[in-house]
Amino acid sequence: MMNQKTRDEILLYWSEEADAAQEAKVQALLKSDPEARAYFEELGVFDALRDRLASLPAMTPSRSFAEGAVSEMLAERSGWRGIGPWISVAAVVIVILAAANMVWPSNEERRETVAREEIQEKGVVLPEVMERPRLSQRLFARERYATRFPKILIAQERARKLRIRLEKFPQL
């Protein structure tokens, strides 16, 4: 009576996966043991199954799946490639706009600056709360104001002098 190990070795031999030692052992067994020989012949059922199924028309693919899949994948890739440059351009534009917003003062900031100058010139003492810059300005605008400070000072001074001169002239 064959054991499981022997059956496995016969199966590996039939599948041409047996190593040299197993091959020699099975070949000797097939010569001497009728039970092993019968078992080996029964494995022919798989060969017959393979041959019969392989000859069926339905077992032949109706079209090339490889070509279809590759075409689809390449089309997908070129689609992304087409959009890619536009995404890069959009990203650059966004960065430029953000940088411009940080460098140049907004209209609101300019109006606040002029309004503060006028108040100071008129000698109005503002309460501390009003003189103190807004929290947003303190947190985010300090550097911007620092870099622009000399230019603002110059502009302010010019504007102040111009207002003084204009006040001297009578209203027309």
Binding site: L56, F65, A66, A69, V70, M73
Partner: protein, 185 residues
Amino acid sequence: MDDSFLIRKYCNEGDGDAAIELLKRYERPLYQYIWQMLLQQQDCEDVMQETFRKALRALPNYREENHFKSWLFRIGRNEAVDIIRRRRRAVVAEAPEEYLGGVQDIVSLPGARELIEERESLEALTRAIALLPEKEKEVVAMRTQGELSFKEIAEIVGAPIGTVLARMHAAKKRLKSLLNTELDR
């Protein structure tokens, strides 16, 4: 050109022809394996399409130490198993109708008797395959139609080689009793 060369050509250079050549090498055995699992042409084609699609997407991450054929069969097996799990009714082998057409078409042909006997034999064959348990069926299909070694099959299904061989033994015994004299013709 070996598989690794074709994979590099596709991944690095976007060479579609290399990818087609690579997949075509295994298209027929993979198709036959999946067909034997599903026994239904439409499902088989859907699985083939999805398997190749997933394989191409995952190819940049493919590790060359794995055998490409085993890797591809693993993807196909997973897709086929998903289909089987979604099915709610037993699979009826449809193959004989497709192979030989309706009976009316056959009767008038010369050699009609032999054709009808052939058809009945094929019905018996596909019915026997359908009656195999899934685990045995996939081992038989991978070995006979997919032409994979038992070692590769063990890697794909995630079982020890001894288990795979045991399933093959069991399938042999079952097929023999189901088919009896059919395969001796």
